[in-house]
């Protein structure tokens, strides 16, 4: 196998890169071997042949990681005063970005676990990538509450462990629930991702052109050899992990919404928050999947593995979850009026017409009005438009968290406590830095690991062969 030139495999493989259109999840002419070579070829590509766009993208992302280091370093040195936080708006960017990032992660779990349980085989080509996205988004999300602590180096105090102070965290607080929810979510996402990778790491080990590369993948593959009995236990474990990840993803964003809903702040204290947060999380996650996957599939010439079928299905799910979010917004408005509570109705009126009214207007435009274009099939079939709409939705979902956090807090119960929140350049630097961190991890992931689940695409090939046999 060492004689195979991976670059040739990628670029002039005898299987042509043909997008089969919205009706098929796999291009024509593939067999078990070609899908393996195509997907692993991307990783085996010599460094000097790495696509220029990858180099440029990774470099820009790396620069933003440095910005993050700078912003966090200064935060450790000076404290949260460098951010725009103050009473009454004490949550600000830290919590906005935390909720935004963790929401983005949720689509990854939805694609890999929920669509697996529902036997949606189009998930196969994008589940690995989405799981990686989940993992990296959770890493970014986890940073914010810790940086927000004031003394981030004492973050381990959040966990219940025997200590000489004989102090324990308060397990009745939603913030403590969050510690458990997010750390469990991060761990389970990692386990799920690694279990999915295991057989593919064995493929990478067996076909790597260089010995040292083979050794690295060999250690990670744990000696996987594809035994039928191993596969049997493997599938059972994978099914159980999918079954566990499904309620987990719902619980995590429910608990995130409890951070708000359990409080008595007007605009936060509502029962619609859990379902509306979960729908919003999946909405933003699908937007991020589309934002990332549309350019990547063309850079790496994967149009026959990630087809228009995948793009269209993700667009439809984005449209559907977006409508649930729209319902959430309308119910928020309705209940602020129907409750008859003057703080609630003032909050809503202030949200629409107050000093941050423009963010609410932009939110409705980005999250509700523009995505309706996806009803039109021609729009869903147009990669540029889908990509632009996915970015609009990402921005819209960020604005949603901004509106929820800031407009609910900045008008306190007493007018004497009213205030205005303006993020500082260090707020923006930290946020942009995590975006760079996320993108750098994504770039490294597609370069170093198979970004599409090879063995599951082999299963798709097998199913298509069985179908052909039936038709013959």
């Amino acid at each position: 196998m060492a004689t195979r030139n991976p670059e040739e495999e990628l670029l002039d493989s005898n299987v042509q890169v043909i997008d089969p259109g919205p009706d098929s999840i796999l291009g024509p002419g593939h067999n078990y071997g070609t899908v393996s070579d195509r997907i692993s070829g991307v990783v085996y590509l010599p460094w000097k042949n790495t696509p220029k766009k990858w180099m440029l993208g990774a470099f820009i992302a790396f620069c933003f990681v440095n910005l993050l280091m700078l912003a966090v370093g200064l935060l450790f040195f000076k404290g949260t005063g460098i951010w725009g936080l103050n009473i009454p708006v004490a949550w600000g960017f830290a919590i906005i970005n935390f909720v935004w990032w963790i929401g983005i992660g949720h689509a990854g779990t939805l694609i890999s676990a929920v669509l697996f349980l529902l036997k949606q085989d189009w998930r196969t080509s994008i589940n690995r990538f989405s799981e990686a996205m989940t993992l990296f988004a959770v890493a970014c999300a986890g940073m914010f509450p810790i940086l927000h602590l004031g003394r981030p180096w004492l973050a381990y105090w959040l966990f219940p462990y025997p200590n000489s102070m004989w102090l324990w965290p308060q397990p009745r607080s939603p913030l403590e629930w969050d510690v458990f929810a997010v750390s469990t979510y991060g761990t389970v996402s990692l386990v799920f991702w690694y279990v999915g990778l295991l057989p593919d790491l064995a493929t990478m080990r067996d076909h790597a052109p260089k010995l040292w590369v083979r050794k690295i993948y060999g250690v990670m593959a744990l000696g996987w050899r594809g035994s039928a009995i191993h596969w049997h236990r493997y599938q059972k474990a994978y099914l159980l992990l999918a079954g566990l990840a499904t309620p987990l993803v719902l619980s995590v964003h429910t608990i995130v919404s409890f951070d708000f809903a359990i409080s008595i702040i007007p605009g936060w204290h509502t029962t619609i928050f859990p379902p509306y947060f979960v729908a919003g999380a999946i909405y933003s996650g699908f937007a991020m999947v589309l934002t990332l996957i549309i350019p990547l599939r063309s850079w790496y010439k994967m149009q026959d593995l990630i087809t228009m079928r995948h793009i269209e299905a993700a667009s439809k799910l984005m449209l559907g979850t977006g409508l649930i979010v729209a319902y959430g917004y309308s119910m928020e408005a309705f209940f602020s009026w129907y409750s008859g509570d003057k703080y609630e109705s003032f909050m809503y009126w202030n949200r629409v017409t107050g000093p941050y009214g423009f963010t609410y207007g932009l939110l409705i435009l980005c999250n509700i009005l523009i995505p309706q274009a996806l009803w039109v099939r021609k729009v869903r079939m147009n990669l540029v438009l889908v990509w632009l709409i996915s970015i609009v939705v990402n921005i819209g979902m960020w604005l949603e968290r901004f509106v929820i956090v800031v407009t609910s807090l900045h008008r306190d119960f007493l007018p004497s406590s009213w205030g205005i929140y303006v993020p500082t350049k260090w707020d923006w630097a930290t946020y942009a830095g995590t975006l760079g961190f996320f993108m750098l991890l994504i770039f490294l992931f597609v370069r170093l690991l198979p970004a599409i689940s090879i063995f599951e695409v082999r299963e798709v090939v097998h199913h298509e062969k069985q179908l052909e046999a039936v038709h013959d």
Partner: protein
């Protein structure tokens, strides 16, 4: 493996042959099982329905292990919270009960998921005997080249009572196996 080394090999793991499709492999496994072989293993680059059953695999204990893990998670998580709020650090907040179990549910639930998921990973690996850095099947060059790509293999192990070097190789060829060969231990 050439014919000359066939009898010279000091120790062997078993006999291996390749089949050209998952369906052919399942059929071969069923024939080997019917012929009386019990200690054997089939290898495929992806999960194949019915393959493990064809070589006589019946008890998959991963789900039981995960159930035990989940029960440990629920009781451990709930017990921890009860102990923190009721025993180690009872805090009287406006006369409310220290054992306020409804507020323990979210963390208990997360502990259940966490322990179940970790058990699924660990039990799957442990029952499969992984990590295993060395295994004899990798001594066969065509196995290393194809087993994780597009090859379907059947190995009848030498510990099987019915195993005989020449007979088993012949049997594998008879049932349609390609390049039947011995696997050095």
């Amino acid at each position: 493996m050439t014919e000359t080394t066939l009898s010279e090999l000091p120790g062997i793991h078993g006999a291996m042959a390749e089949f050209d499709s998952p369906e052919a492999l399942i059929e071969a496994c069923e024939q080997a099982y019917a012929h009386g072989y019990r200690r054997m293993d089939a290898f495929a680059p992806m999960p194949v329905d019915g393959l493990a059953e064809a070589i006589g695999f019946k008890r998959n204990n991963v789900a039981k292990a995960v159930l035990i893990g989940g029960i440990c998670g629920v009781s451990g998580g709930f017990g921890l919270l009860y102990w923190i709020t009721g025993v180690a650090y009872p805090l009287n907040v406006g006369g409310r009960p220290t054992f306020s179990w409804p507020s323990f549910i979210p963390i208990t639930f997360e502990c259940m998921i966490l322990l179940s998921a970790l058990t699924a990973l660990v039990s799957m690996l442990a029952m499969n005997g992984l990590p295993k850095p060395y295994h004899p099947v990798f001594n066969v060059p065509q196995f290393t080249a194809k087993a994780s790509r597009d090859g379907f293999f059947l190995v009848i192990e030498s510990s099987d009572p019915k195993f005989g070097r020449a007979e088993t190789l012949e049997f594998l060829s008879e049932i349609g196996g390609m390049e039947a060969t011995l696997v050095p231990a």
